[in-house]
């Protein structure tokens, strides 16, 4: 997803900016929770009322959902459905793809509306897109001179064995 390197990487600096943008969206869209998930189902950031939610499962199912509808889109000759919306009795889920890379999930109830969420998501997506661009650039320099250090460069067989004790 992030170019040709094998790992997706997140740093403190960008993480904080992503969380700030997510919180801004949370407020401006009057929503309950906002999540960012990578396309492979890994949670990148979560904000709002998340304490009663199984965020790991949510991330994996969201990615599955996007993957399945992406497959459907291709079947009918569309590139992708860039927005998915699921309406519930109380809560609704708005799912969109940011900069072709990351899935943005907004959960909201009657205190907000689909129109408002759509509008705010659109605005937030541009800013998030720029950030992910920067992150992709930075993670392609991991391990190179001047780039950040990969924590796995120095792991030993013992470190690995210890995981399974």
């Amino acid at each position: 997803m992030f170019g040709s390197q094998s790992s997706l990487v997140m740093y403190d600096e960008e993480y904080q900016q992503i969380v700030d943008l997510a919180e801004k969206l949370l407020r401006e869209a009057n929503s309950k929770a906002v999540f960012l998930v990578d396309r492979n189902g890994q949670l990148m950031a979560a904000t709002g009322e998340t304490e009663h939610l199984d965020t790991t499962s949510l991330a994996s199912l969201t990615a599955g959902n996007i993957a399945a509808t992406g497959g459907l889109a291709k079947l009918i000759g569309e590139k992708e459905f860039s927005i998915l919306f699921h309406e519930g009795e109380k809560d609704n889920i708005h799912i969109s793809i940011v900069a072709d890379r990351v899935i943005l999930v907004v959960i909201f109830d009657h205190r907000s509306s689909l129109g408002l969420v759509r509008l705010r998501v659109k605005k937030a997506s541009d800013a998030l897109g720029d950030l992910f661009e920067e992150l992709a650039r930075k993670s392609s320099t991991v391990g190179t001179r001047g780039g950040p250090k990969n924590p796995f460069a120095e792991i030993t067989d013992d470190d690995i064995d210890n995981l399974f004790r």
Partner: protein, 196 residues
């Protein structure tokens, strides 16, 4: 594709269990779930038909421990083995870090094993991956049953490159953790290499 998060000091890796219908992929995850301490595992999600066949995927997140201060998590997925779910199988392979091929050792499933292995290679190639370049292990499952293919035959068809292989009975748990541990190890070694 692994996800290294410096902000939360976590690393996540994706492992996919592949193999023919009814070979025991879901049973592997159920056994792992059942024998892992509650604090080390998340919820297991199974998107299955009414007859308990996998429809889209099973998902089990595991947190095994720390390496150099990084929480190391593995996300385990199974694919649906039935032939006609090929589109879904392809989707699940996206971003995979390591593959476990679960073979069904019963004689009458030999062809299904071979077909599934070919299908795995094809689907990986569609994502631009090569099986040879991925952490990969093979599990020979259902060794408790009486009508087994000879081991040499299974090996010659399924494991010509001699990747790590394990006999298993996913129902009783024999070989299940050995398999998981082997693929997890290969993934971490790969990460280390990638760290350059």
């Amino acid at each position: 594709m692994s996800f290294i998060n410096y902000a939360s000091r976590e690393i996540n890796c994706k492992i996919v269990y592949y193999g023919p219908g009814l070979c025991g992929k879901t049973t592997n995850l159920q056994t792992i779930y059942g024998r892992t301490a509650p604090e080390s595992r998340g919820k297991m999600i199974s998107l299955a038909t009414e007859t308990e066949r996998t429809l889209f995927f099973d998902f089990l997140p595991l947190a095994l421990g720390d390496i150099r201060g990084f929480k190391t998590r593995f996300h385990l997925y199974t694919v649906p083995g039935q032939v006609f779910y090929d589109a879904s199988r392809k989707l699940i392979l996206k971003g995979v870090d390591g593959v476990v091929f679960v073979a069904d050792c019963q004689e009458e499933r030999l062809d299904a094993n071979i077909e599934s292995m070919e299908n795995l290679k094809d689907n990986l190639e569609e994502h631009g991956y090569q099986l040879e370049n991925l952490p990969f292990v093979i599990q020979y499952n259902k060794v408790d049953l009486p009508n087994l293919s000879p081991m040499e035959e299974l090996q010659s068809f399924l494991n010509p490159r001699s990747v790590p292989e394990f006999k298993a009975c996913a129902l009783t748990g024999e070989g299940v953790f050995e398999t998981l541990k082997a693929v997890a190890k290969l993934i971490l070694v790969e990460l280390k290499k990638g760290a350059g």
